[in-house]
């Protein structure tokens, strides 16, 4: 008797759980306002990208065209794909000492997986990801970028 009862109970429980699933998809179907997908090219102007999104890698420059990169090369060592090349040069300071300064911050976006290890490793927080995401290009060489602005200098506060 108990087994017969359990048999019918299992049928009703199955129908109830099926109905729960159908209720959820039916709710999504009847509420198109709750859509998660963005109609992208149409809403490009109003599109909000979360601030933690890893878009384009940038070397942060302030208003006086100063950056914080000491050309230490820790980001280059930390990059798993060899995306980053730090080209440095020796420059004579005012007090006569020679010091290593940044010449070119070369970034090959075609190799980048946007893991963010370079940003985590930077001791002076010189680099960061911004929100831009439209990276498509006709040639792979377009993706090879030099991140430091021409004529930019190291901030005096950074040692």
């Amino acid at each position: 008797m108990k087994s017969i009862f359990n048999y019918y109970k299992s049928i009703f429980l199955a129908l109830r759980s099926l109905w729960q699933g159908m209720k959820l998809t039916g709710y999504y179907f009847s509420h198109p306002k709750k859509m998660l997908v963005q109609p992208y090219p149409e809403n490009r102007d109003t599109l909000v990208i979360p601030s933690r999104f890893k878009g384009n890698l940038t070397l942060i420059h302030d208003a006086e065209n100063l950056h914080a990169c000491t050309a230490c090369g820790i980001c280059e060592i930390n990059c798993p794909n060899g995306t980053i090349k730090i080209l440095s040069k020796m420059e004579e300071q005012e007090d006569g000492k020679k010091k290593k300064v940044l010449d070119k911050w070369v970034y090959h976006m075609g190799l980048c997986t946007f893991c963010g290890l370079c940003v985590d490793a930077c001791p002076s927080d010189a680099i960061a990801f911004d929100n831009t995401f439209e990276h498509s290009a006709y040639k792979s060489t377009t993706l090879n970028k030099v991140l430091n602005n021409p004529g930019s200098k190291l901030k005096s506060t950074v040692k």
Partner: protein, 361 residues
């Protein structure tokens, strides 16, 4: 009055005009050709509408838009897909059984077109009123498994063969419970003819009139027909993750399109059958005793009722597809042999008792 012209009147005037202008035999031949063209046109239009509806429904149920680039709201997407398939080459694998490989899609499509013959689309619109209509549809629609097995066998591909064998096991076992649930209503009507079944629902549809057995039979029929159609959650025959595409893995171009067409055609036919047997076909919704309401319902043409009910059931089956996860093969067979078949046998016995005692509403 435009509203009083029905589909039957148009067909009747074409019939009389053909008989006046041509000899009787030629008129019959012309009518057969016209009827065939009408069915092909109906199926192609419905398949395009259903493919578009399916993709839109899938999108909305998964919180995305679905096709929205070709035409207004993506409405021409299905047409563009058909044009693309027309232009593709029909490839045949090197070691395939060439004849069987070529015949299989035609067989599947022809079988699904044949099931339209005893369908009644509107009052007086029916190609062939045979006294075994429901039996004919059930038996002919299950022939498509032969085409599927041929396609799977001839492809010389392990995925195709596995998919075809699964499909065979599935259709053969689910035929039983879908047949038994149709028999439940046939018992109450006392006739297998589609016309008689529709005419018997003039006062109330069978799903309301037949008490609990009719409701149970309807649920069982919907589950079993979803399985016969090889649609999710029973799409083991073409489980993408395991079998790439099942029995039509090796097909491309128009041969693939014919499998696709027959799949949607079968969906349409089984939904039409469910609408005819359980929901009264083209019969408007009547409540015994409410004269004004019944007259108002009579103003809506039979074609609208019929296609409305059919699309309601198609929507239900699509809703299943985009909600439920796929079953394993052992779960699938367990569901049929341990649950659906005993339930529908018991249900049929109860329906027989109700019919004998004449306990209808």
């Amino acid at each position: 009055m435009l509203l009083t012209i029905t589909l039957a009147d148009i067909i009747h005037s074409i019939d009389t005009w053909l008989n006046q202008t041509l000899s009787p035999n030629l008129a019959l031949a012309a009518e057969l050709v016209l009827g065939g063209l009408a069915i092909i046109g109906l199926v192609i239009v419905m398949a395009i509408v259903m493919v578009y509806a399916e993709r839109k429904i899938a999108g909305f149920m998964q919180m995305r838009y679905g096709p929205n680039r070709v035409g207004k709201w993506g409405s021409l997407q299905a047409v563009a897909d058909v044009l693309k398939l027309f232009m593709k080459e029909c490839l045949t694998p090197k070691n395939a059984d060439k004849l069987m490989f070529a015949i299989a899609p035609f067989l599947v499509t022809a079988v699904s077109f044949m099931t339209f013959a005893p369908m009644s689309f509107a009052p007086g619109v029916q190609f062939w009123d045979i006294n075994i209509g429901v039996f004919y549809i059930a038996s002919v629609s299950s022939l498509s498994v032969i085409g599927i097995l041929m396609a799977g066998w001839a492809s010389n591909n392990k995925y195709a063969l596995l998919g075809a064998m699964r499909s065979g096991a599935q259709i053969v076992s689910y035929e039983l419970s879908s047949g038994l649930s149709l028999i439940t209503i046939v018992l109450m009507v006392g006739s297998l003819s589609v016309k008689d079944i529709i005419m018997s629902q003039g006062d109330l549809w069978w799903i309301f009139k037949g008490h609990i057995p009719a409701v149970v039979a309807f649920v069982v029929y919907i589950i079993a027909s979803t399985a016969e159609l090889n649609r999710a959650p029973f799409d083991l025959a073409e489980a993408e993750q395991e079998l790439t595409a099942g029995f039509h893995t090796e097909y491309s171009g128009m041969q693939f399109a014919m499998f696709f067409l027959s799949e949607y055609c079968n969906l349409f036919v089984l939904s039409m059958l469910a609408a005819t047997v359980f929901l009264g076909g083209w019969m408007p919704f009547h409540i015994p005793g409410l004269e004004v309401f019944n007259h108002l319902m009579d103003y809506i043409p039979g074609v609208v009722w019929f296609f409305g009910k059919t699309f309601a059931i198609i929507f239900l089956i699509m809703w299943f597809r985009w909600t439920f996860p796929r079953l394993r093969i052992d779960q699938l067979l367990k569901l049929e042999w341990k649950y659906l078949l005993p339930v529908s046998i018991v249900n049929m016995v109860i329906a027989a008792i109700i019919t004998l005692m004449n306990w209808f509403l």
